[in-house]
Each structure stands twice: as structure tokens, then as C-alpha cells.
């Protein structure tokens, strides 16, 4: 359709951080279509230089306040890989449960607070208190669970304090683990209610498809979250695996003029990371209860609709709940929490660690000298890995919306919802108060 449309969205709402959408259509021709991320360099890789290995995760956990658990875990895994530290099975299980807490916590907020308003026709969660009060209360109860779940194992969810190279500085006790299990079980009905709400809204999720390469952690033993190899899956279902230490063969970072954050690419010009990528790469490893929800939502790999990333997050919430209960039961059946010493280094060299954070696969790599001090480091975060894919989605979606004779407002909403579906986490957000005294 030959029309002029100008979309200039500064500070897209309901995402973590700041991003802009610019679309300029003149006489039916797309002149400009850009997803912009004005993210400044963070210099965390510079900050870890010269730091003792015991300090590195404390620093890198501050890359993100939402995915702090994931950054901590990827960091200590990289350090442990460099120092020849083999953690105990108990440590691995507790870290998995902690990883599930973060995933659950973040997904609940994303789906319930950031995405739900779009699906329910509201500008934010606030009007939903009046129209969908029980849904909002359910979301807040589930959010509280996520925070307490992570805090009980990690010390706190933001910049966790208990996870250190070689083990835990402070272990959750057996009694606390039982309490944690009870807390999770107490919210299963709430999760079921939220799933039912999402299922009822599933037909409102926009339909869009673009052949995409998906990259995620993969393990044959468990759904790729805490551990595994790197796996990519193409639109035709073909898969390829890489050892985590070969992550650069997948990420191939490059600089785009549209973004201060680097882009990545592998077999195609971009790839996607996140819940949908994990779903497409690890479907067979989903807990049966999670698979049931996927089935109800009509989801089976390979899914190429980025808007369904939010639905994949709901599936993962169910997986995290039931998988964590299973892991807790395993620990309890084995006699409960055992006091273990911290496993010590046997060498000092280079190492790589990877874990999945809510937004996708995360890589940390460090090089240590013979005294355990960091020589250099490299971190590649998932939101960076998704920027190029968001741009590629825009490039396909905008002409389609134009062809469908969508209005400017409809087009803007479609683009906003697409970015939100990726659940980007951009670091430049602020929290200062800006108030006027009224009393």
C-alpha cells in the first residue's frame, strides 16, 4: 500500500532497559527500519583483570540484576574449568535448582507483568488490577515464590552470595530444603491458573514466521539450563553441537552501525537465543508436566514465531517447578544435605563456562596466571546475541504489515510486542525516584 508511516518509539516500555524502534515508510517503500540499542560499554571484562579467582564472580554477577544467578554460575563454571575444579553432584543439583529459580522468577514477571497487558488490551499491569485482579494477584504470588526460592539457595537472588568456585560458601540445610519444596508445591495451583489464562489468550499471540537458527545449551540428560554443550538447530531441524570452549565458532561477534552492542551470527545472518531456542533444542528433555502444557498450547519444535517465546517461557516455568521438586526429592532421598568442603584448584589456566539465563545462552571465559589472578576475560550475553535477530525479524515483519494495510498504531504495537517477546535485558536502566510531594 502506498502510504507514509513514521514510527519513532523512544524508550520502549515493558522491557528491561532502554531500546528504540524507528520505522520510516515513504509512499509505501520502507526507507528505514531499525531496532536501536543505545547501550554503553560496561567494561566488566576489564574489571576482572588482576582480580583473584575468588572475586571474579562477585564482579561479573553485577553485569545484570535479573540474571545475576546465571552470570554467577557461568562465571564460577568458567573459573572451575580453568582451575581444574570438579564440583560434587550435590553442588551441581543445588546449582540446577538455583538456576530454575532464576528462570522461573524472570519468566513469571515477563509473562505476567510485561506481556500480559498486551494480550489483555491494557497499557500496563495497573489497569489489570481492576479488570483481572485475581490474575495479577496470582502473578505476584508466583513472583514472590521465585525470589524466595532463589534466596534460600543463593543467599539472595540479586548478586547471590553463596555460590563460589568449588561449592557453596553456605549450604541450605535439609530442613530449609524441605521448606523450599513446600513453598514450591504450595504455588503449583497458581501456576496452573496462570497457564490456563495464557492458554485462553493464545489465539491473540500474533502469527509470524521467519526461518531462524536457534542456539541453546543442550544435554541428553536434562533440559539445557545449567549445563550441557552448545547446540544449534536450523529451520529444517538439522542440529550441530559444539563444546562450550568453542563458543566463538558459534557467536562470531561483529559490530553493526545500528547498535552499540555487538551482533552475532552463525550459519545465517543472525540467530536467536532464549526460551524458544531452548524449547526447539531440548524439547525431548522437558518434564512430562511441561510437555503437557506445550501440547495444550499447540507447541512442538521447530517453532519459528518469535512471539511464542513468551509461551515457551510458560512451558519452562512448569518444567522448572517440577524438575526442582524432583531434584529436591533426590537430595532428600540420599539423606539430605551433606556438609562438603570447597573443592580446591589443581591448576591455573584458561577456562570457559556457559549456562542459560532467562534470555538465552551465556558465555564466560577467563585466563588465570599461576597465582590464580585473572589475566583477561570475555563475556557474551544472550540479549546481545538476539539483537541481530530482532533486526532481521523487523526487516521481514514491516513489509508484511504494510502489505496487510496495518495502521501506524497497529504496526507500532506489533513491533513493540515482537521486541517484548524476546524479553531483552538491557543494562542501562535506572531506578532513581522522581517524585512530587503532595502531603
Amino acid at each position: 500500500m502506498k502510504k507514509d508511516i513514521n514510527i519513532d518509539i523512544h524508550h520502549l516500555t515493558r522491557i528491561e532497559g532502554h531500546g528504540n524502534i524507528k520505522v520510516n515508510i515513504k509512499n509505501g517503500a520502507v526507507e528505514e527500519c531499525v531496532w536501536q540499542v543505545p547501550e554503553a560499554p560496561r567494561f566488566f571484562e576489564a574489571m576482572v583483570k588482576g582480580r583473584h579467582y575468588s572475586e571474579v564472580a562477585r564482579i561479573t554477577s553485577r553485569i545484570c540484576g535479573i540474571c545475576a544467578i546465571g552470570h554467577t554460575l557461568a562465571s564460577v563454571k568458567a573459573t572451575e574449568n580453568a582451575l581444574g575444579i570438579e564440583i560434587t553432584p550435590q553442588t551441581a543439583k543445588l546449582r540446577s535448582i538455583l538456576k530454575h529459580a532464576e528462570n522461573f522468577d524472570s519468566h513469571i514477571v515477563h509473562v505476567g507483568v510485561l506481556v500480559a497487558p498486551d494480550l489483555l488490551g491494557a497499557p500496563s499491569v495497573f489497569p489489570l488490577v481492576a479488570t483481572h485482579g485475581e490474575v495479577v494477584k496470582t502473578v505476584l504470588r508466583l513472583k514472590r515464590l521465585g525470589h524466595e526460592w532463589g534466596s534460600m539457595i543463593g543467599g539472595r537472588t540479586t548478586h547471590p552470595t553463596t555460590v563460589i568456585p568449588g561449592g557453596f560458601a553456605k549450604l541450605i540445610t535439609t530442613d530449609e530444603l524441605k521448606i523450599l519444596k513446600d513453598k514450591i508445591l504450595a504455588r503449583v495451583d497458581d501456576l496452573t491458573a496462570l497457564v490456563e489464562t495464557i492458554v485462553s489468550l493464545a489465539s491473540d499471540i500474533p502469527v509470524f514466521d521467519r526461518p531462524t537458527e536457534y542456539v541453546a545449551l543442550h544435554s541428553d540428560e536434562e533440559y539445557g539450563l545449567y549445563d550441557g554443550c552448545i547446540q544449534t538447530v536450523m529451520p529444517d531441524g538439522s542440529k550441530e553441537q559444539f563444546d562450550v570452549r568453542d563458543y566463538k565458532k558459534v557467536t562470531n561477534e561483529w559490530v553493526s552501525p545500528n547498535s552499540t552492542a555487538k551482533y552475532t551470527r552463525h550459519k545465517l545472518e543472525s540467530y536467536a537465543a532464549g526460551a524458544l531456542a531452548r524449547f526447539n533444542n531440548n524439547y525431548e528433555q522437558l518434564h512430562p508436566e511441561a510437555k503437557k502444557i506445550a501440547e495444550v498450547l499447540g507447541m512442538k519444535p521447530i517453532i519459528g514465531n518469535p512471539y511464542l517465546n513468551s509461551a515457551a517461557q510458560v512451558v519452562e516455568c512448569a518444567h522448572s517447578v517440577h524438575e526442582s521438586i524432583r531434584l529436591i526429592d533426590e537430595i532428600l532421598a540420599d539423606g539430605g544435605i551433606k556438609e562438603e568442603g570447597i573443592v580446591q584448584p589443581v591448576k591455573f589456566s584458561s577456562g570457559t563456562g556457559s549456562t542459560e539465563v532467562p534470555r538465552g545462552i551465556l558465555f564466560h571465559e577467563y585466563n588465570y596466571d599461576e597465582n590464580g589472578f585473572c589475566i583477561d576475560g570475555n563475556c557474551i550475553i544472550p540479549t546481545n546475541q538476539n539483537h541481530a535477530n530482532i533486526q532481521a525479524d523487523f526487516d521481514k515483519l514491516v513489509p508484511e504489515l504494510l502489505e496487510a494495510d496495518k495502521s501506524k498504531e497497529q504496526m507500532a504495537l506489533a513491533l513493540e510486542m515482537l521486541v517484548r517477546a524476546y524479553d531483552p535485558c538491557i543494562s542501562c536502566s535506572t531506578h532513581y525516584l522522581n517524585v512530587e510531594f503532595v502531603g
Binding site: 500496563s124 488490577v129 525516584l433 517524585v435 512530587e436
Partner: protein, 150 residues
């Protein structure tokens, strides 16, 4: 139970004041008779502390108060309305005033909550704290300890 809760972003210079103050209290072994919580940007996590067993919460954050950089003011959340133009709410872009409003509207127990707002010198994408705020940490600590015990 009483809580001092710091909020902010470690990577946004003076916006990190709230969480650096929590670190200051812990590093100097000043946490006694209350708990010091680093909430960072996760404003929605405050719900875990809004229970019947909570007597008082002081939330520490940088705040635009039309004061000089480094100056501070204590105020109740009921005495202010937010000027932040957010059409939504996120855990990153958390406006605590809005979060407390949400808590109230969804039936949560709201204990006595006091904000300690500190006027920033600069908020920018950088790790660190302006000299005026950094040098004032001991003073902020003293007034916080006095206020939490009231």
C-alpha cells in the same frame, strides 16, 4: 522485623547509591537489629518483605528532590506521587512508589515504609559513585541506623 532495603543499578553511577549503602552497612558490621537487603533493580521483590511480621522498612534510593547533590530527605511513600512517566512496570525500570501502590491495591500488608532519597550528582552509564555521595556514605549510614531504630 525491620529492613533497610537498597535499590539501584550498579552500572549507572549514582543510581547505585542504594545498593552501595547496603554494602557499606554490611562491610562495617553495622547490621544489628534489622536486615540489610540489596534489592538492586528488582523492585517487585519487595513483596517478600511485605508481611505481617514486618514492622518497618526504610528504602534507600537516589531521588530527584530538587536538592543539592548529596543531600537527602526521609519521607513516607504516602506523601509523594511519582513523576516518572512509565506506562508499565518492570523489574529493571522499577519505580518503587508504583510498586507499593500495586501492593496496596492487591491486598498486601503495607508496614511503616520510609524512603531515604539522596539527590544524585550524576546518573550515567558508568560503574562508580560521585565523590560527594561516596564521601557521605558514613553519614548516610549514621542517619539510617538512627532512623531504623525509631
Amino acid at each position: 522485623m525491620k529492613y533497610i532495603i537498597g535499590i539501584g543499578n550498579y552500572s549507572m553511577y549514582d543510581d547505585s547509591l542504594g545498593i552501595r549503602l547496603i554494602e557499606y552497612l554490611e562491610e562495617n558490621n553495622l547490621v544489628d537489629g534489622f536486615k540489610a537487603i540489596d534489592l538492586s533493580g528488582n523492585a517487585l521483590n519487595i513483596f517478600s518483605y511485605l508481611s505481617e511480621s514486618t514492622d518497618k522498612i526504610i528504602i534507600v534510593d537516589t531521588a530527584r528532590l530538587d536538592m543539592e547533590p548529596g543531600e537527602y530527605r526521609f519521607f513516607s511513600h504516602e506523601k509523594v506521587k511519582t513523576l516518572k512517566e512509565l506506562s508499565g512496570i518492570t523489574t529493571h525500570e522499577g519505580d518503587m512508589v508504583k510498586v507499593l501502590e500495586l501492593a496496596g491495591k492487591t491486598g498486601y500488608h503495607i508496614p511503616e515504609i520510609i524512603f531515604m532519597g539522596v539527590e544524585p550528582e550524576e546518573i550515567k552509564s558508568e560503574v562508580g559513585l560521585s565523590e560527594i555521595l561516596e564521601s557521605s556514605l558514613p553519614e548516610y549510614g549514621r542517619v539510617l541506623l538512627r532512623e531504623i531504630m525509631l
